[in-house]
Amino acid sequence: MPRADSCQSRSLYIPRDATILSVTELTSREKLFRLRLSDGSELKHLPGQFIQLSILGYGEAPISVASPPTRQGYFELGIRRVGSLTTAMHALKRGDKVGIRGPYGTPFDLGSMGGKDLLLISGGCGLAPMRSLIQYAADRKSEFGRVTILYGARSPDQLLFREDLDKWETISGFACSYTVDSREGDGCYSGSTGLITDLIRPIELSPAETEAVIVGPPAMYTPVIAALKEKGLSSQQISLSLERQMRCGVGKCGHCSIEHLYCCQDGPVFRLNVIEHLHGAL
């Protein structure tokens, strides 16, 4: 029987094998998977890109890479259990193999972020892709100005990467704060409560020197954008990563189109000025 290797070069749609190195439970429904491509090569992604995760029998789903390319030998995926594929993924353990296609998509514009202050705002599981950028910035601190991380989740038990959040706060030049909509279900939670926009208001920034990034659930974009504009940021200074149901990752399946753009190729990271006037983008 011919082996996979012989046709990997042939089809765009055949995934590469990756091995699970470790699994960490983040919340009751989110896990962080650390993986390595089975042939030992690096994923060679950039922050903001995603991969198509494939499990035979369950199909594929787009998953943002949650780790930076600066950390070699592995890549990480934060995965929420929502459908049959992600449920199957949650059942996998260290040593199990999955399929990976990609990385795909337009990453964060690291070039124009260079030397700038970064205001990184995420909500819910949007912190997973943002983490790739945050860790990248932490690893190459000299390339960026101040880094401010704001994060909101629905409740304390749904906060992702709490250890990371606490760690980021201690990095010099970094500021990190998070909030929850309601402290329901966790009496011990001592952090702040309120909307993500409440965290934006007190921030002081120099608009000309700032690049803002938003990654979150669809409902978050409009109020956060309004708050940033109040702070004097222009649409060109705001990037966001959009979630769509990409089936192919390569601009063919049509599921992620936003007018003339394909989220999987032209995005998922867009400058706000590119999409704000497009019907159905936000």
């Binding site: 029987m1 011919p2 082996r3 996979a4 290797d5 012989s6 046709c7 990997q8 042939r10 089809s11 765009l12 749609y13 055949i14 035979l56 029998g57 369950y58 199909g59 594929e60 789903a61 929420r80 929502v82 459908g83 992600t86 659930p217 669809p218 409902a219 979630e243 769509r244 149901q245 089936r247 192919c248 390569v250 601009g251 063919k252 399946c253 049509g254 599921h255 992620c256 189109s257 936003i258 007018e259 003339h260 753009l261 190729q265 019907h279 159905g280 983008a281």
Partner: protein
């Protein structure tokens, strides 16, 4: 260029059956037509475009992406013989060119091109449309053209391969050129083409009220027929089927007219209403494709209007748009 009688044409076709995977328009038992093998039914060259979209020859409604067994992915078995397709119209050819570019831009879709790349295409034109209607000849971007002059078929080769195929067939009288038969006729756009172009111009300039799209959406029963017959629609979904240890990943045509098309796992749906989906269907062809590819994605083949059970195909909707939102002097502007 050769002149072939109907009998000689059949001879010509049969002579290639052994070397190629020959596909020709045939008559189906219900009186319809489809591009199939010669053995599947009587040859039916007359009648214009077949209902199935041209890309379905390379990219079926449900097709294999890959198969995997216990020991890994299985190699794709490509058909031995090259496809030799007869019976697309010049309009179909335009659609095919559009989709060839779509599938080759960026990452090249190897599944589509596995059979498309090697396919030989012969279009039909002349007096062989629906009810004998005239089909204007192609611009020649295919291997061969079969032009019906009302009696015989004129076989015109365009590509090197087409020339070889034509030359190696011994029967048939030589003719000088198509122009000698057909004249240098100019073919003005049809009324349908006019109206779709006019609607495109309106949509590119103005955003129509949501109420208009809601009204169209109210007539959409989500049959998906418009997308499934559209030669420039290629959206697909993916499903895995496991037969014991043998797994097949297949891709299946999808439709943006279905509420689940863009619904995300978390429940958010950028195309939540029938009105939004109707807007997307028309806008994608007439506005978005223009922005992305520099031309509209509708070649006015009429398939969606035929397939739509409630009369809201792109030509019908374009008529509504032009009637309701067109400027009175629209005609003069476009000249």
């Amino acid at each position: 260029m050769k002149r072939l009688t109907q009998d000689e044409l059949l001879q010509f076709l049969k002579s290639w059956e052994t070397c190629y995977d020959l596909r020709v328009p045939i008559l189906l038992p219900d009186g319809g037509r489809a591009i199939c093998r010669l053995a599947d039914g009587p040859l039916a060259m007359h009648g214009g475009s077949v209902p199935a979209k041209p890309t379905s020859l390379f990219f079926p409604q449900d097709g294999l992406v890959f198969a995997a067994g216990a020991n890994g992915y299985l190699e794709r078995v490509d058909t031995e013989k090259r496809l030799f397709i007869i019976g697309l119209t010049p309009t179909d050819l335009q659609c095919l060119r559009f989709i060839d570019r779509f599938f080759s831009t960026g990452e090249r879709d190897d599944l589509y091109f596995a059979s498309r790349d090697k396919a030989i295409i012969a279009v039909v034109s002349g007096y062989c449309g629906r009810d004998g209607e005239f089909i204007p000849p192609s611009s020649g971007s295919c291997d061969l053209e079969l032009y019906h002059d009302g009696i015989d078929w004129l076989l015109m080769p365009y590509s090197d391969e087409g020339r070889e195929l034509a030359a190696s067939f011994n029967a048939g009288d030589e003719v000088v050129s198509l122009e000698s038969v057909h004249g240098k006729a100019v073919h003005p756009p049809s009324a349908e083409q006019e109206v779709v172009l006019a609607a495109a111009a309106i949509l590119q300039e103005t955003e129509l009220p949501d109420a208009f799209w809601d009204e169209i959406g109210e007539h959409c029963i989500q049959c998906s027929g418009c997308n499934l017959t559209c030669p420039t629609c290629t959206c697909f979904g993916v499903q895995d089927w496991c037969y014991g240890e043998h797994t097949e990943r297949r891709r299946v045509w999808d439709s943006c007219q279905l509420a689940g098309f863009m619904r995300e796992a978390g429940g958010h749906n950028p195309l939540a209403t029938a009105g939004q989906r109707s807007r997307r269907r028309i806008h994608h062809k007439l506005v978005a494709d223009m922005s992305r590819w520099g031309e509209i994605g509708c070649f006015v083949c009429g398939r969606c209007d035929l397939a739509c059970p409630t009369g809201i195909g792109i030509i019908a909707v374009s008529r509504e748009i032009v009637t309701r939102f067109g400027m009175p002097d629209d005609n003069s502007k476009r000249d």
